[in-house]
Amino acid sequence: MLSALLFLLALGVISGILLGIASKAFYVYEDPRIEQVENCLPGANCGGCGYAGCGAAAGAVVGGKAEPDVCIAGGNDVAQAVAAVMGMVVEMAEPQFALQTCAGGIRAETKFNYLGINDCRALALLYRGDKECEKACLGLGTCFRNCKFGAITMGTQGLPIFHSEFCTGCGKCEEVCPNGTIKVQRSTERILEFNTYSDRLAPCQQTCPAEIDIPKYIDHIKNGRYEQAVLTIKERNPFILSCGRVCPHPCEEMCRRTLGDDPVSINQLKRFVADYEMNTGRHLQIPIGSDTGHKIAVIGAGPAGLSSAYFLRRLGHSVTIYEMQPKLGGMLYYGIPEYRLPKKILGWEIQGILDLGIDVRTNVKFGVDFDLESLVASGYEAVILAVGAWKYSSARLDREDETIGVEGGTIYLERQGLGIPNPIGKTVGVIGGGNTAMDAARSSVRLGAEKVYIIYRRTEKEMPANPEEIEAAKEEGIEFLFLAAPNNIIDKDGRLTHLEYLKMKLGEPDDSGRRRPIPIEGSETRLPLDNLVLAIGQYSDLSFVDSNRRISGVEKTKWNSIKCDEDTNQTSIPYVFAAGDAFIDGPGIAVEAIGNGRQAARSIHLLFSDESMKFSKDKLRVKGNKGHIPGTIFDKIEGIDKKGRISLPQMDPKVRIHSVDEVDLTISEEEALKEANRCMNCCLTCYDKDAKKVNA
């Protein structure tokens, strides 16, 4: 008995001593913080971070190989605790969430009946699944079964529903989805994404120049999640109030509901949620990436400049905007009249963008007050030229520059923006058929002109202005002279008295597909006018290019815009980028400038991270009604109930011509819901057959 006791005691002592010696002899210095960090981690050893267990992850953090937010499952609290141990400050790590990109699920037509194993991966092995659409969600719920956090439920439409409040962004669902319908991303990562042929995009989303996820925000509205809808739009377009008012909505032209009904009034829905945000009185918080320390100068605070600044800021860069005018907004402020876009609303919207941490210098002109050299000297690593198109095109009339009473549309409208008196006679003529012409004409009515004419050389059908604008101009008593081309200016003592124009007839279609107007000989007609506004086109003022040696390397196109790469916006100087109206293809609509601004922001971000700026081959390039993903512009849908779209609420024309108050009004919540329910939630080839039941 005693010997046993002694033996065990001795064995214990020997083992103890041996281990003690070993731990001294084979001592490896280990940072005590590793243990502390490990204690902060959840200890689940899930491997979601990419390291073999929590201990290895802790070692990586202390070794400087991983950031304190290494633990995906633990989220922000754990990241904060780890950062505290490390004596670091972790910025609110931006969470990443899983998103479903397929809108179809069981809505998609099926190729065959499947009775096999209840698993998407097994089903996908059979001819890429049972759905006609090869990119569709197969709907067997493998993602749902693989989610450890209960963040996925299976919806009634056979689609998984993601609950962002439980989602930790671990990426397991993305991994197991055989058709790649699930994407796990931070919202700043999505800024860098542009539409591709392999994406699941509804026709409207393919058409939108800013690539807004239209079906998604309409779906949010449908379900009363207005804030989510606002955030969805702002992922692509920071100007939701402005675009909600002035956008000519090319998306609505491709709306598939048109096949049996009116198109969904997409833009009015955007305006509805935008106004909803404004009426709450505060800007919704926009997630911003952590600071990168890169400095970028943006020249011009128009839609393109502000949009690129907004996206660059969201990517974590520091941005300064230089603007020649006293107010921000560019053509949105100085080109679009008060009655279409009130300055107060525009100002509130821009303030929201600046609040993200963007610096602004106003009243400074590029090439005059500062130049590229001084920007480089101040440490800016990239420059965006978003200078807009402030010069008006000539009508090629004799003495048009000297004659008092004849002026350019941009100058005419700019004066109103600046608050300078705009003296105007009793009769005003506006040459042109675009929205600028409509703005000039409708502004003239408000300035007290008794008779306003719009002189256009083709017919109403060919007019590029929005149909709504043409309609509103007619209601306000503006007279349209179609098929009339200005020929000569008649003046008395240097002051305009008449415009002589030629009547035209339409000939063969030209390159743009519009019928070419041909003058009728001997049809000269004189129109008595006090003022004539030229609104036939605009181009950029690029006089700064010749201002100094450094910038003179920037090449110009023959249309007087800046020559740059179509995809990357990069000019002939690698760190100088062009965006908006100054971009190669010249002036366009605001939403194009906004999309283009994001493209420039993407290029600069990739320039800093030394990645290729080129897009992949399958980038979607939609121009008007061309270039859509094959098969998605289907031309037949059965079972659409004709509901008609909501009307556009407007102020009475008799009242509005005497004030500059906003003409178009916001739709009511009830109308918005009704309109949102008309959206069929198209994806690539399938649309929601159940939508019929929803509206019934």
Binding site: G12, L19, F26, V28, A56
Partner: protein
């Protein structure tokens, strides 16, 4: 030599420590969900079991038997194996960091592994000499690793299979282990 070969075949296939003796079931079900963890664990077991089998044999033959303390075998072996694993961990961390990085997280798991203890006890109960104990320990561990890797392969496939809900998880794991065991019994006629 042929004796050792027979012993090896017997230990790996016929008397597989996991499938025939049913020792070490905890890691068999616990770390067999993924192929790479299973191989890591298998390697760690081979390393530790060979060492532990030899050391415990030495202690039994040169300490316990001469001192007539054989009845203390269980408790002594437990103590020795635990201390040994700890020692190996400390040693490897300093001297062979690469090996430690590979086996590191599995070593503490083995401290409480009954397969290690089982082999140590079989070594002395069968009255093996030193060489036999060494070969038996090593080949038993190889058998363990083999069974573990096979199981991991099966379970990776099971992840995508349609399994009745009542059998999901450990249940189907045990059923599978049973079938594997039956299959291994087929090796019975080899020796």
């Amino acid at each position: 030599m042929s004796d050792y070969l027979l012993m090896a075949i017997s230990a790996i296939f016929i008397n597989n420590i996991l499938l025939a003796q049913y020792l070490g079931n905890c890691p068999f079900l616990g770390v067999s969900k993924k192929m790479d963890t299973a191989t890591g664990m298998g390697m760690a077991v081979i390393f530790v079991l060979t060492l532990a089998g030899v050391i415990t044999w030495i202690i039994d033959v040169y300490l316990l038997c001469p001192m007539d303390l054989v009845y203390l075998r269980t408790i002594v072996f437990i103590l020795v194996i635990a201390a040994l694993v700890q020692f190996v961990e400390i040693f490897l961390k300093k001297m062979v960091p690469a090996l430690y990085a590979g086996l590191g997280i599995f070593l503490p798991l083995i401290t409480t592994n009954c397969a290690v203890f089982g082999v140590a006890v079989i070594n002395v109960r069968e009255g093996f000499n030193f060489m036999e104990a060494l070969v038996f320990s090593f080949t038993s561990a190889v058998g363990f690793a083999l069974a573990l890797v096979l199981m991991a392969g099966l379970r990776e496939r099971m992840a995508t299979a349609r399994i009745p809900q009542v059998l999901e998880g450990t249940a189907i794991g045990l059923v599978t282990a049973g079938f594997m065991s039956l299959a291994f019994l087929g090796f019975m006629g080899m020796v």
